[in-house]
Amino acid sequence: MLKFILKKLAMMIPMLLVISLIVFVGLRSTGIDPITFMVPPEVQSQSPEIVDQLREELGLNDPLIVQYVRWLGDILHGDLGLTNKGESVADIIATRLPYTLELSAYAMLFSAVIGIGIGIISAIRQNGIVDYIGRVLAVLGQAVPQFLVGIVLIWIFSIKLGIFPAANRVSPDATNAFVDAFMHLFLPVLTLTIGMVAVLMRYARNTMLDVLNSDYIKTARSKGIPEWKVYMKHGFRNAMKPVLVILMYRIPALIGGSVVIESVFSYPGIGTTMANAVTSMDYNLVLVITLIIAAVMLICSFMVDVFNALLDPRVRLGE
């Protein structure tokens, strides 16, 4: 098992290197000169020698591959470089990333609990009221764009009812940090949760139905085990394995979704930062964020692999 984990971990490193190389070369070959954003136009036109000197200092005249190796060295030393405005990328990431992680983690947690809960109840009480509501929700959740759900929620809860704030993460005049966080997180988390629940619920329902139709459930029933025990001990535990794997697989969609949802709620996370960086052509920032997201994704798929291997010995023996 340790060997399997180490092998999977070792495979992540070349993947990250290749991704960083592609993104780096891609962004540098756009023909956009970072100097134009760093130096005011007056200085550029009046004293081109300063620009040349700066370019030499930043190493922008070197071949791309030399630049890449230098950049990679800096990253490995913990130096993420500067944005076009001269701010430290590391600082921006350090303040913005926790906000996004917080948002995604809560959405993940609630959608898991709610999605699996509804899925299981609708499998046990097939064609009951929960099953019916769940099915309608699943159909709508996959058709309505997530950001529109966010807009509707803002319209209802912020504008009509005035309960929750429609934007930002922190209020300037907040007295209780916990209450403040709750108020700001509620709507974005709810929006992301609705989208995730729509998908999870269907999986949970279908796997639970498969399990409930299997022979060992019939055996358990025929032994006279109480019905709730059959569901919880024999059904639920076996149905959960594929559902948890699906939950892991949904993480990319969750991160992609949070990019849009952050924009709806003007939430100062990594997604809005990325969108702004793309519009303002701040490529060092785009580069770092892309790599962080790729790393998070690789770690997630690594966790799926390990998780699968733990549950199913065939996976690790096959390697």
């Binding site: 070959s29 756009t30 996959q142 058709a143 319209w155 429609a166 990319p252 990325m274 785009v286």
Partner: protein, 297 residues
């Protein structure tokens, strides 16, 4: 009498195929949601295309009627600079539906060709293409799209189509590759190869038709996926240029909280258009799967 007995095999196949077709159509028509989906798709597409052909005015701002609520003259109201919203939703439909269909079809074609090559040749060819697809899959698609938008450094329709196709071929690829892996061991493939049929012929004329059903179904649902993707990208302001009225671009106005608060029609109507169309495609796709998927019959 004797004429009916001497039907050639080809003719028999033809009549069997047409009766299967009839059976499938009957089966599809029994699925009410799928028929509803198809009807909605047809009506909305025809309305949008008709709007475009009739040349409804979607682009001239009218400062005297900015932010006007829906009335008889402007049934969907007007937007923040006084353009007729109904005309914009019709035009936007043409663009959005085109983006969805074009990207879904082209990414399926790319995915199918790469999948066929990887699955049929196997070994290092397969390993290389699978690695490439894994690199693409290492990103949430929207982030990948944003990165490519940054690299291409220009917001235009062509770039957006390119970005969507480049980032959207992986699911079809995986499906086709896996099917090819198992089908290439079948006897009929071995027979074709033994007869000296060219590899391209074996791949695309003999094996591929057996994989067409799942490709068609996934292409259908991908249309909905790309329409939603375009809407999300335009909403965050990285989609096609602002002058092109896609459904997502129209909804971009709802980023302003004043619009959400005071001009509900600006976001409700395009939002409804997207949701209804996507819903219809999902129903239609599900119906198609039920009819075509041999495993369920």
């Amino acid at each position: 009498m004797s004429e009916t007995k001497t039907l050639s095999i080809k003719e028999q196949n033809k009549s069997a195929a047409s009766s299967l077709m009839k059976k499938n159509i009957r089966k599809f028509l029994r699925n009410k949601l799928a028929v509803f989906g198809l009807v909605v798709i047809v009506i909305m597409t025809v309305a949008c295309v008709a709007g475009m052909i009739l040349g409804v005015d979607y682009s001239t701002p009218n400062p005297t009627i900015m932010r006007a609520a829906p009335d008889a003259a402007h049934i969907f109201g007007t937007d923040t600079i006084g353009r007729d919203l109904f005309a914009r939703v019709l035009y936007g439909g043409c663009y959005s539906i085109f983006i969805g269909v074009f990207c879904a079809v082209l990414s399926s074609v790319v995915g199918a060709i790469l999948g066929a090559i990887a699955g049929y040749f196997g070994r290092w060819v397969d390993a290389v293409i699978v690695r490439i697809s894994e690199i693409f899959l290492a990103f949430p698609q929207l982030v990948l799209v944003m990165m490519l938008v940054a690299i291409l450094n220009k917001r235009s329709m062509g770039n957006m189509l390119f970005v969507f196709v480049v980032t959207g071929w992986m699911t079809t690829f995986r499906m086709v590759r896996n099917e090819f892996m198992s089908l290439k061991g079948e006897t009929y493939v071995k027979v074709c190869e033994a007869f000296g049929m060219s590899r391209a012929n074996v791949m695309f004329k003999q094996i591929l038709p057996n994989v067409m059903t799942p490709i068609i179904v996934s292409t259908t649902t991908n249309v909905a996926y790309f329409i939603l993707q375009e809407a999300a990208l335009s909403f965050i302001g990285l989609g096609v240029a602002d002058s092109t009225p896609t459904w997502g671009n129209i909804l971009n106005a709802a980023k302003s909280i004043q619009v959400v608060q005071n001009q509900w029609w600006i976001w409700v109507f395009p939002g409804l258009a997207i949701s209804l169309f996507v819903l219809a495609i999902n129903f239609f796709g599900d119906g198609l799967r039920d009819v075509l998927d041999a495993k369920q019959q």
